[in-house]
């Protein structure tokens, strides 16, 4: 990964300069927005400039536009003068928006603020990059921080830190700086004024020098002075010649002004130095910034591990309880997914039972059930997990000298990682774990252990009841209104909600017929068929191959979902997309039944980037057909790769309606539900 980054970053220096600049580069951003020079000019200047030290410039360039930290210093520093003379409206606007983003981020941070957890386990190995990560974090959205951090080679971290320091200097005074920052700032100090003067002289004509020089000095006062100068220059220019071309006269005026301003600079800079870096600052910063960061890492139970990343896989292996075997003949496009490993680890795991002292037996049991496939289906897995956690919490006692909140969170995390090893988490489980951890984190300190445990257990019960059981009832009630007499309903695979809907509709006396479409290798539809026929429903059973034949007689398609993503994409058992697409082509409405706790704010456009691989063997063999043995030794043939995907993504175009516990919605409204109720879900 590290190897991949630098070239890319170097290749696009312009982006870097326009967005924000290297350590001392923070000021240039400022000057950028205020200087009368055009952005383009500055950009070219910047790319032309030779930074004082190579390692500084490199990381600077390594920041992609996405990672641009809003120039905090600019927001606060520029406050007095910002509205006055901003010749380039576009840039001022941009700064405005950035400032807003900072604010909102902080606000959310406060809301989400969770107690700091001190366990170093989740920290990145590379201390430097970790540091950069935590310093960077406040400026990026919640997502992707980990990636950002890891993308910086160790050497680059210094620069980031510097930037952070500079940025923070202007920001709220409370923001502590790292000692590193000051050091580097001070180091760059001496050279500045000289160089700057020169460059500034040159600046007015071609604009080339500005960013370069400014890059090297840092303080508020300096920047203000420059700004002042530029403002004056602009005014002068306007008066002089209708502002068509800044004349030479105005240029000299600027230089003069700048010189005046510079006198102020050095002292203020010195003053800034000590302010910026109280030694306690860095530690405080850690406390302030890391928890959310770590929290994030833990909360989102990293379903996105890239399995084609060797380092990470190695690391994961070392930690793993479950033996990981290298899967053979991996499919190229899906290498990044956790490869399916043959069921051999089951006995192995069973043997380990007594070694795994930290694992609660009930969690262990659930894990094995996941592994063996005894429990499958979003709701079932989720409930099983919750019940296991509930038992684990019941049997939990805080070890001496530890806080329940932290220790239990760590415990749950270890359980979760065990479960992930057994089978990748579903999105519903991820959301549920998020909920549980939130509850733990929100436990008041005053609460006694038994009370806390009791409250958590009842929270779990309530979650199961409200978000799953009752939600299903509501969904059923809504869905039944869409079933008319004489309908032919088609469903695919086995969805617990759809089954309940069909049974209920039958019970209330609706006259309808059901078409159950099934597919290899799971043949879950047979389970549904069995149950429905036992209840006396009129059913037709077919395989997905016949979907286009059967669709013309169907009037409604009811489908379950593993998750609904915020662009309306439905993530569900593989084959669902096909059914939905055919239904759409036949103008048959497709109704997705999904509890709102399975909604996720992620956006996914295909089934490739996040999916789960199943056992490739099961698609090579057909039970009961000994004659179909052509693929018997498929693993020996390197040219043959079998792909057994578990899920697929159905684009929202094919979905007519999503039935959730909040009512019947178009797929375009999923983000509204996520936005309006996510917090509520977490808090209940």
């Amino acid at each position: 990964m590290d190897m991949r980054r630098p070239p890319r970053t170097v290749s696009d220096p312009k982006v870097r300069q326009v967005g924000f600049v290297t350590p001392s580069g923070a000021p240039p951003t400022r000057s950028l927005s205020d200087a009368p020079t055009t952005v383009a000019a500055v950009a070219s200047a910047a790319s032309a400039s030779s930074p004082p030290s190579g390692e500084i410039s490199l990381p600077g360039s390594s920041l992609s536009p996405v990672m641009i930290p809003p120039p905090r210093h600019a927001s606060s520093d520029g406050r007095p003068s910002a509205p006055v003379a901003v010749p380039n409206p576009a840039s001022s606007l941009r700064r405005e928006s950035l400032r807003i983003r900072v604010g909102s981020y902080n606000a959310s941070e406060v809301v989400l603020g969770t107690p700091p957890s001190a366990s170093p386990s989740s920290r990145t190995d590379n201390a430097a990059s970790e540091f950069s990560e935590e310093t960077m974090s406040p400026w990026h959205g919640r997502s992707g921080t980990a990636k950002v951090a890891s993308s910086f080679p160790g050497s680059t971290s210094e620069m980031i830190v510097m930037k952070t320091g500079v940025g923070g200097g202007g920001g709220a005074g409370s923001t502590p700086k790292s000692p590193l920052t000051t050091a580097s700032v001070v180091k760059t100090l001496p050279g500045i004024s000289e160089k700057e003067r020169e460059v500034l002289m040159g600046t007015q004509n071609d604009g080339a020098g500005v960013s370069k020089t400014l890059k090297e000095k840092t303080t508020k006062a300096e920047r203000r002075a420059v700004q002042e100068a530029q403002r004056a220059a602009k005014a002068a220019a306007k008066e002089a010649g209708a502002g068509v071309k800044p004349s030479a006269a105005s240029g000299s005026a600027v230089v003069a002004n700048t010189k005046q301003g510079k006198i102020v600079k050095p002292p203020s800079q010195k003053k800034d130095g000590p302010q910026i870096a109280p030694p306690s600052g860095s530690s405080e910063k850690k406390v302030v910034d890391r928890p959310p960061e770590k929290d994030r890492k833990k909360d989102v139970p990293a379903p996105r591990m890239q399995f084609d990343d060797k380092h990470r896989v190695e690391k994961a292996k070392r930690r793993a309880v479950v033996n990981q075997f290298e899967a053979k003949n991996r499919v190229e496009l899906f290498r990044h997914l956790p490869q399916y490993i043959h069921g051999t680890q089951l006995p192995d795991l069973e043997g380990k039972f007594f070694q795994l002292d930290p694992m609660h037996p009930s969690v262990y049991k659930v894990g094995l059930q996941y592994l063996s496939g005894q429990i499958s289906g979003g709701n079932a897995r989720c409930i099983a997990m919750l019940l296991a956690f509930r038992e684990a919490i019941r049997d939990y006692s805080t070890p001496p000298e530890k806080a329940l909140v932290r220790d239990l969170t760590a415990k749950i995390s270890s359980y979760v990682s065990f479960l992930i090893e057994c089978r990748p988490l579903s999105i519903s489980m991820g959301n549920t774990i998020k909920f549980l951890k939130n509850r733990i984190a929100k436990l008041p300190d005053t609460m006694s252990e038994s009370e806390a445990k009791y409250s958590l257990q009842s929270d779990i019960d309530r979650f199961i009841n409200e978000k799953i059981v009752i939600a299903d009832k509501v969904i059923i009630r809504h869905a039944v209104t869409k079933i008319r007499d004489g309908d032919v309903l088609l469903t695919y695979g086995l969805s617990s909600v759809v089954e309940m809907i069909l049974v209920y509709a039958h019970e209330v006396g609706k006259q309808f017929r059901v078409v159950i479409v099934d597919s290899r290798p799971k043949l879950e539809g047979q389970v549904l068929l069995h149950r429905l026929v036992a209840k006396g429903l009129n059913c037709t059973y077919t395989h997905i191959n016949a979907i286009s034949y059967i669709m013309h007689e169907v009037t409604r398609v009811f489908l379950g979902a593993a998750s609904v993503l915020s662009n309306g994409t439905v993530y569900s058992r593989v084959g669902t997309a096909c059914v939905a697409m055919v239904a759409n082509a036949f103008r048959v409405p497709v109704l997705i039944c999904c509890e709102a706790y399975k909604f996720h704010e992620r956006v996914q456009l295909d089934s490739i980037c996040s999916n789960e691989l199943g056992d490739p063997d099961v698609i090579s063999k057909v039970s009961g057909r000994q004659d179909l043995n052509h693929l018997d030794n498929w693993a020996d043939n390197e040219n043959l790769q079998l792909l057994n995907l578990s899920y697929d993504a159905t684009p929202s175009d094919y979905v007519s309606m999503i039935i959730t516990d909040y009512g019947m919605l178009p797929p375009s409204s999923v983000p509204v539900i996520v936005r309006e109720y996510r917090r509520e879900n977490l808090w209940i």
């Binding site: 869409k482 008319r484 409604r556 409405p589 109704l591 007519s656 309606m657 909040y662 009512g663 019947m664 919605l665 178009p666 375009s668 409204s669 509204v672 539900i673 309006e676 917090r679």
Partner: protein, 391 residues
């Protein structure tokens, strides 16, 4: 907490108040004589009361409708206040009340529903908020079941009920204060409705550009308002009106537009595709806007939208936000059937069936934008607004 406040704001937006209670505009030219002659028609089975009223208000019943209407206007409106003694003498009936308000040609159905509910509050002798709420719930259920085909009616009831529950839950400890507040707000609703129409006209007329040709299907007060405002802003455009069988709503609209000096051409309903080449945009009203973002409107809207869509012409819908309803039809048949009498002018041969449905459902993918008093929305925003309002 945060989203509660947001909803609250939304609520306020819906109930934003102006001045006094609205009264039917005296200059509204039509008050059809039929409605006066037949004071309280129960919807005979199968026939949609909503569409009957619409026909009475918007359709041309005879050739000299204008003189008739003027005569009716001269004769004066029916008494505006509900008979105060009625409450005392006989048990209060919310349906009678609703029918009374419904007669007024310039009053939207949702407003009439809210007026009826307000009258219900006034005559109620409940002593607690809970009691009042239950009573109101009953009244609104009665209203809704009285005419299941009217979307504005149920939307109006829902909206008001929503407001009642919010109010009682939130601010007022004193029951009487709360009651008065409810009455006041309800009475202002008519005002709000008119204001909404003006807002929509302001927003909508921006989309009308000089030299454009607009195809209008059905008669809608909002659409008329938009066109009126555009014309008064000296925009030069022409309008194609569909005939609008069986109510001949197009005749009424074309007459109104002609008096404003807007060039109008009348098309028969089947000429929509023929004329679509020349058309720059389609503008329709709506009986209801449903959760998917689609609209329910007079029969023929769907085909007009389909034709426009296939020719890449924009389809705009002008509708007040109180017409947003928590309905989600999946297809045409997924609606409560709203039937109406259709006259063909000649005897129908025995054994021939007649499609009597008065409305159809236009799915959101065929609509371009909705002009509402909440702003110009894409169809998918409708559901967001509904979620924020009702959840």
């Amino acid at each position: 907490m945060r989203h509660v406040t947001r909803k609250e704001r939304r609520e306020i937006r819906f109930f934003r108040c102006g001045g006094a209670t609205s009264r039917p505009n005296a200059d509204a030219p039509t008050s059809s004589p039929d409605s006066i002659m037949e004071p309280n028609p129960k919807p005979n089975h199968g026939i949609s009361a909503y569409y009957q009223t619409r026909a009475e208000h918007h359709a041309i019943i005879s050739g000299d409708w204008l003189s008739q209407a003027q005569a009716a206007a001269a004769a004066g409106h029916p008494p505006e206040e509900p008979p105060a003694s009625a409450a005392a003498s006989k048990p209060f009936s919310v349906i009678d009340e609703f029918n009374h308000w419904r007669r007024k040609p310039d009053l939207a159905e949702a407003v009439a529903a809210i007026m009826a509910l307000v009258a219900g509050i006034r005559s109620s002798d409940a002593t607690t908020m809970m009691e009042l709420e239950i009573e109101l719930k009953k009244a609104s259920d009665a209203l809704k079941s009285w005419d299941t085909t009217s979307i504005s009616l149920s939307a109006g009831c829902d909206l008001f009920m929503r407001y009642v529950t919010r109010t009682s839950a939130l601010e007022y400890d004193d029951f009487h204060a709360a009651k008065l507040r409810l009455i006041e707000r309800g009475e202002k609703f008519g005002e709000i409705s008119l204001k909404a129409r003006r807002t929509i006209a302001m927003l909508g007329q921006d989309f009308i550009f000089d030299g454009c040709t607009i195809l209008v299907h059905g008669f809608s007060r909002v659409v008329l308002e938009v066109l009126k405002l555009a014309a008064s802003n000296r925009k030069l455009f022409r309008v194609f009106c569909t005939e609008g069988r069986p109510d001949k709503t197009g005749l009424r609209l074309s007459k109104e537009l002609a008096t404003l000096g807007i060039p109008v051409k009348l098309l028969i309903d089947s000429a929509v595709a023929y004329a679509m080449d020349e058309v720059d945009m389609v503008l329709v009203g709506a009986d209801g806007v449903v959760e998917s973002g689609g609209v329910i409107n007079m029969m023929g809207t769907y085909q007009t939208a389909l034709v426009a869509h296939s020719m890449n012409k924009p389809v705009y819908v002008a509708a007040e936000s109180y017409k947003f309803a928590r309905l989600y039809p999946l297809d045409q048949k997924d609606l409560e059937p709203a039937l109406r009498l259709i006259e063909f002018g000649v005897p129908i041969p025995a054994g021939v069936e007649i499609e009597k449905s008065a409305r159809d459902y236009t799915p959101p993918q065929y609509l371009t934008l909705l002009f509402t008093d909440l702003g110009v929305l894409t169809p998918s925003v409708v559901s967001d607004e509904l979620i924020q309002l009702y959840l």
